[in-house]
Symmetry: C2
Subunit: 193 residues, 2 copies
């Protein structure tokens, strides 16, 4: 049984990548098994409730990876602008590296399944909220008060997610590159008020 | 044969609604037939290439409806702020009226299918670009020059799409309501520079 933690983690990582690229309904359980290289029995052992349970774990895993990257960007930046622009450049780098296949790891499943699965919608919402919170925490470290940090975090995440959607659909980085000027403008406006 | 234009249009409208609510892979051809109330033969007559062809027509139809709404908002607004905020309030009204089931009509299919269908990705991209163009045209009517209008249009559409994604996932209007302050800030910043 010593391979179990590994095989569980491999399944979650494989599922997260597939959900990011093609969403929930476009990903069959057999795709996840093939990508993870796990035996079917191990999958049912770890995820007795099947595909939805794997996808919830995958969204939670992907959400936490992004949250950690946001926290890392805050620690290594010298200003609020630099912090937020580092996030959007990270998104652009992921998108380009994957030939425009890997955008937001949460959005495809969130949009497809928001009417169909309470569990997936809750996991997607928890991921987005953890990013908003982590961005707000980062902004507070650059001397935004809690209320302004919270409002700017929502605005910045909205800007990033929308630009990432457009860039992925157009297969061009331009919308993400264009997001840098509005982000700088928002940092100035929210710092002032 | 006199019912043909009607049955074709009914199919497109039904497909557009289903794609908006549950995306492409979550929508079976039989769902579209049932929702449109069309006989299967009429569907194959109008769309010999099947589901993908229907979905392309549905994205084009939905894209044009939104583009017309944007043009209408520009005509009935007195300022760039009012114009853009009218768009985001329209999104919030649609979302609330549908019990959080109807967000962006393009984004779910765009994200699921961007790796899998050139035709759907092109149709989704054309819709988003027509919105960017229509927003830019509206902004020019409020005395933004062409270049600033184009950049602000991308920023505003990104802000709207991201906020709509968050609002739909959270099942709360708050992210869309919070988008109004950043939109005002962006209008000011882009008018100034």
């Amino acid at each position: 049984m010593s391979d179990k933690p590994d095989s569980k983690e491999k399944t979650i990582i494989a599922a997260a990548k597939l959900l990011r690229r093609q969403g929930y309904n476009g990903t069959a359980l057999s795709d996840i098994l093939a990508a993870a290289g796990s035996p079917r029995g191990s999958l049912y052992f770890h995820f007795p409730n099947g595909k939805e349970e794997i996808a919830v774990a995958a969204l939670t895993y992907a959400g936490d990876s992004v949250r950690q990257a946001i926290a890392g960007a805050a620690k290594t930046s010298k200003s609020a602008d630099e912090f937020l622009i580092r996030i959007v450049r990270g998104m652009a780098a992921d998108l380009e590296r994957s030939d425009f296949k890997e955008g937001c790891p949460i959005a495809p499943t969130a949009l497809e399944m928001s009417g169909a699965s309470e569990a997936l919608t809750a996991a997607a919402g928890a991921a987005f909220q953890s990013w908003e919170q982590e961005i707000a925490t980062g902004l507070q470290s650059f001397h935004f008060n809690a209320e302004r940090a919270r409002l700017l975090a929502t605005a910045a995440l909205s800007q990033f997610e929308g630009a990432l959607l457009l860039a992925r659909t157009y297969r061009r980085l331009e919308p993400l590159q264009r997001a840098e000027e509005p982000i700088r403008a928002l940092v100035q406006a929210f710092a002032r008020t």
